[in-house]
């Protein structure tokens, strides 16, 4: 377990090596990146086998860093962060596999990619609020370059919007944390210390602080109406980056809400709980409705990510142990499923057909030309709908159970969201892969005349391996979610969350 911090260091080392290796050849850079990503994933899995679930954070490293300000280099792990660490490793490995075809400046691509991954590992391992913030910000710059240099539609605009929104969110968080630190008289930046200090603020002060910190993190999580950067940014990003961004980086925001914001001021949370829950369910339904109208397949997936993150935020807002454990499970599940969806749309389809418009794809009838991609997309789609048998179902079920106990109205609206998700996913499957929605396509007809000559390259081995990894994970967790719930549930019994998880009252 002590070796977990090596995930950060090894990934950073891998980034530098990939940069150097890229000078020699693209292949060298790719293999270095794959070995780094897979290696760190195996580290997280190894830690998972040794992990003893329990309340509270289990310290891995605790050294003084900036003594004058009481900041410590404190890395720790609990069941929730372990779940997300495993997700990061998986998403990183799959992301590398699906970026195997990057030819331009490959070394630099993987250097940025791995730096981003290292930042994410760091966030999940941090137990000191400033260290958390530092890793959180480290993740911002590589995102910009990955999108701006290797992206597609509207990439410069998408990259800038994503970077600025993330930074603005983190600026709000910094303002909130500093306020608590200075006005509350904290002696350090550990989570417990800050909670103590926050209790010294006046009631209006606590409310504003909570708003700053929570909504700052919620921007990155894609809470309605702070979500507008997400579809644009994820669509503009190259495949491996969108998998990582929608799959893991959005979870950084939700994790920040959970780890930092929620325990900080129970009083502030009690004030904001209802608006946050309503914003979350609005996001679920609104983003789903937009996805239903979208003409670009990748935008459909982008908005579906916002909709799914709405479930996560709903679970957090409901603030009882069941709902929050569902939210963490949904973070994991959606990380895998979003990865699959972006992988198919970006790598398997767009890189071959060079179009993502549903109107164009409909004429190509991809289920005949790319049967593997179609199967993977159907699996990913039904998983995304929350179909039982895949990881989305236990997550959504748990969130609904928990939310029902906190506010039945919210659960009812969320259930509508499930229906909308089914509608837009099925529409995407139909139009994107099965040809026109107006006629059935017999399985053996002679091929559409417009595309009789369309030849699409075969699916490569990295794509297959990546897809199988992700599908296997979602099925495994769908059928045996307590593999993760057994880590998450004990972690929620930490005294830090008692005030919040028992109804949100101080």
């Amino acid at each position: 377990m002590r070796f977990l911090p090596w995930t950060i260091y090894l990934t950073l080392a891998g980034a530098l090596l990939a940069l150097a290796g890229g000078r020699r050849s693209a292949g060298t850079a790719r293999w270095i990146a794959l070995l780094t990503a897979a290696g760190t994933w195996i580290l997280t899995l190894a830690a998972a086998t040794r992990f003893v679930p329990g309340p509270g954070l289990q310290t891995l490293v605790d050294l003084p860093w900036i003594p004058t300000m009481g900041v410590r280099y404190h890395l720790a792990v609990d069941g929730i962060s372990l779940t997300l660490l495993v997700l990061t490793g998986l998403a990183a490995t799959a992301g590398v596999l699906f970026s195997w075809n990057v030819e331009e400046r490959t070394g630099e691509f993987f250097a940025f990619f791995l730096t981003l991954v290292a930042g994410v590992y760091g966030v999940f391992l941090s137990a000191d609020a400033l260290l958390f913030f530092v890793f959180y910000e480290i993740a911002i710059v590589p995102k910009y370059f990955l999108i701006a240099a290797w992206g597609s539609t509207n990439r410069e605009y998408g990259a800038m919007k994503l970077a600025l929104y993330s930074f603005a969110g983190s600026a709000m968080v910094l303002a909130g944390l500093l306020w608590v630190y200075s006005s509350g008289g904290a002696h350090g930046f550990s989570f417990g210390e800050l909670t103590h200090a926050a209790a010294n603020l006046s009631r209006p002060g606590q409310i504003v602080v909570f708003a700053l910190v929570f909504f700052g993190f919620a921007t990155l999580a894609g809470l309605f109406p702070l979500h507008t950067w997400a579809p644009t940014g994820h669509v503009a990003a190259p495949t491996g980056a969108s998998m990582l961004l929608a799959g893991v980086v959005m979870k950084l925001g939700a994790y920040g809400c959970l780890r930092v914001a929620l325990p900080l001021t129970p009083l502030g949370f009690a004030y904001w709980q209802t608006p946050i829950a309503w914003l979350a369910v609005t996001g679920i339904v609104y983003a789903g409705l937009v996805a239903l109208m979208e003409q670009d397949l990748k935008f459909v997936i982008g908005y579906s990510s916002v909709s799914h993150m709405g479930f996560v935020m709903l679970g957090l807002a409901a603030a009882n142990p069941r709902a929050v454990s569902g939210a963490v499970l949904q973070m994991f599940s959606h990380g895998v499923i979003a990865g699959l969806l972006f992988a198919v749309v970006g790598r398997m389809v767009y890189d071959r057909t060079h179009t993502r418009r549903l109107g164009d794809l409909r004429r190509m009838q991809l289920y005949r030309l790319l049967p593997f991609a179609t199967t993977v997309f159907v699996v990913a789609g039904v998983a995304s709908m929350g179909l039982p048998g895949f990881s989305g179902f236990p997550a959504e079920l748990t969130i609904l159970i928990g939310t029902w106990a906190a506010g039945p109205r919210w659960a009812a609206v969320a259930a509508v969201g499930v229906l909308v998700a089914a509608a837009f996913t099925l529409r995407a499957i139909q139009l994107g892969f099965f040809g026109s929605a107006d006629q059935a396509a017999p399985a053996d007809s002679a091929g559409h005349p417009d595309h009789a000559g369309l030849h699409l390259s075969a699916i490569t081995w990295p794509e297959k391996v990546g897809a199988l990894l992700l599908i296997g994970t979602t099925v495994l967790i769908g059928l045996k979610p307590d593999l993760l719930l057994d880590w998450i549930n004990p972690a929620l019994q930490s005294p830090l969350w008692h005030a919040v998880l028992n109804g949100g009252a101080p």
Binding site: T68, E108, I138, M160, A163, L164, A171, A175, S182, S183
Partner: protein, 487 residues
């Protein structure tokens, strides 16, 4: 009380080394190196100068701390740190001078650089008003000349003239302000002045004097609304001059400022919250800081010239540094020094990159950076480090500088105080700043090279200087205690 000339002499050894170095450079150039090529003469002058700087640095390190010559100079931690910082930044400036477009009179250039450095060293330690003025003028006059040194470009002459005119006026303000303060308190020694103000309370004479001093310093550090010289000077001056003006001069200037205000005029600081309407300079400095932050960041958005963008960003940083000055009352000068020094490192580095690019072609507009990642990965990587540090992205030093300053500001009176409110404003504006910094990096790291752009070869010494600057930024970022614990 016999004046302690021996102490004074040993305290001033660094300055003396630098002056001697300057004379040596001039002498050697006039005599031995007359017939060498300009590039060789520059190179040799620089080596001698660097030797002088290293000697000065060593002497600063070995100097005895404490008041000198009856309190005229104060070699406390702040002074020592600033002096070492100035030496380091000047060394880096020398490093990037090596292969800039060679000025025609290279030895004179180097000599004046050394004289400027010595003035800056003196500024860091001065604790008596006349000495302050002397040091300030020595440094400023050298810097005016350095700004206008490049006779091949009319912008340089414009820069020098503007700097001189503004600077001269500021010097007049400063002197007048000092004389008023002397009139009000009867002393030129800062500790004595502080006692007098505490005893007397405030009177109009003092207030006017203080305001004039503030104006002068506002000019010196390019705070709005006294910033008008900065864009033109940054744009026109030769790259090494601009580097020195932007880095070492700022560092020394702020050190001087903070020493004046806090130990010196602190009883006249006035209240630190909004509610109490007592008179004092605190509010005035806060206004300067706020104006600089807003104007600097907003104006930088519109720039298409790289140097002018750096100028406006310098104004914005000056605003943040003024915030550090305000916070120094509670938290000491540590955060301010850290921010100013690491800011200096980043700026020297940025101008170093500009210098290399100007030698290889032109670097006027931001778009001239296009494709830098292909033309020279080293320059692109170093530029990324410098720009990101300016933007305040961890784990680079720029972030911790901002963090230390902002948290100190918030502690100085809470969120309701002007300092706290400014800190929040600065945090918000940093998102704006990220935008224009990313625009620069987009050209350097994302955009493809322009047609006909050739690879850039970076000379060894400059490489070393750039890597040292970048390395120090990373090191101080990962390990901020290295500097913060000095205070």
């Amino acid at each position: 009380m016999t004046p302690d000339y021996a102490g004074l002499f040993s305290a001033l050894l660094p300055e003396a080394s630098l002056v001697l170095g300057a004379l040596l450079v001039l002498g050697l150039d006039l005599t031995l190196y007359r017939r060498h090529s300009p590039a060789e003469r520059l190179s040799l002058a620089l080596w001698v100068g660097m030797l002088a700087l290293v000697t000065a640095g060593f002497q600063i390190w070995r100097a005895e701390p404490g008041p000198v010559f009856g309190g005229e100079l104060m070699l406390d931690h702040l002074a020592t740190a600033t002096r070492l910082g100035v030496v380091a930044l000047t060394l880096l400036t020398f490093g990037i001078t090596q292969d800039s477009p060679a000025p025609r009179q290279s030895a004179e250039y180097v000599a004046i650089l050394l004289l400027a450095a010595s003035g800056l060293l003196l500024m860091a330690a001065a604790q008596q008003l006349l000495l302050v003025f002397l040091a300030l003028e020595l440094a400023s006059l050298s810097l005016y000349v350095l700004a206008g040194f490049d006779r091949t470009r009319p912008e340089s002459a414009e820069a020098g003239l503007k700097y001189f005119l503004f600077g001269g006026m500021a010097a007049a303000f400063l002197l007048f302000g000092f004389s008023l303060v002397y009139g009000a308190t009867g002393s030129v020694e800062l500790p004595e002045i502080a006692r007098q103000i505490a005893a007397q309370g405030s009177n109009p004479l003092l207030v006017v004097g203080l305001m004039m001093i503030l104006v002068a310093f506002g000019f010196k550090v390019a705070a709005a609304p006294f910033h008008l010289w900065a864009p033109d000077v940054y744009q026109g001056a030769p790259a090494p001059s601009a580097a020195l003006i932007a880095s070492a001069s700022k560092l020394a200037g702020f050190t001087l400022f903070v020493r004046l205000l806090w130990p010196g005029f602190s009883p006249a600081a006035g209240s630190v919250t909004w509610l109490n309407h007592g008179p004092g300079w605190f509010r005035a400095v806060a206004v300067l800081a706020g104006a600089s932050l807003v104007l600097g960041n907003v104006a930088a958005l519109a720039q298409t010239s790289l140097r002018r963008l750096l100028a406006y960003s310098a104004i914005a940083h000056a605003g943040a540094l003024l915030l550090g000055v305000l916070a120094a009352g509670r938290a000491g000068p540590g955060p301010l020094f850290y921010y100013a020094f690491t800011y200096g490192l980043a700026t020297v580095g940025a101008f170093g990159v500009i210098a290399v690019m100007e030698t290889a072609g032109r670097c006027e507009r931001i778009t001239d950076l296009a494709g830098l990642h292909r033309r020279s990965p080293l320059l692109a990587g170093c530029l990324a480090v410098f720009i990101l540090s300016l933007a305040g992205i961890p784990p680079l030093a720029g972030f911790f500088g901002k963090f230390a300053v902002f948290s100190a500001a918030l502690q100085a009176g809470g969120i309701r105080g002007p300092a706290g409110g400014l800190a929040v404003l600065a945090i918000a504006l940093s998102a704006v700043a990220l935008y224009y910094y990313l625009i620069v990096l987009k050209q350097a790291l994302v955009a493809g090279p322009a047609a006909g752009a050739r690879p850039i070869r970076v000379p060894r010494v400059t490489t070393l200087a750039l890597l040292t600057a970048a390395g120090l930024i990373v090191w101080f970022g990962v390990n901020p205690s290295a500097l913060l614990s000095l205070f």
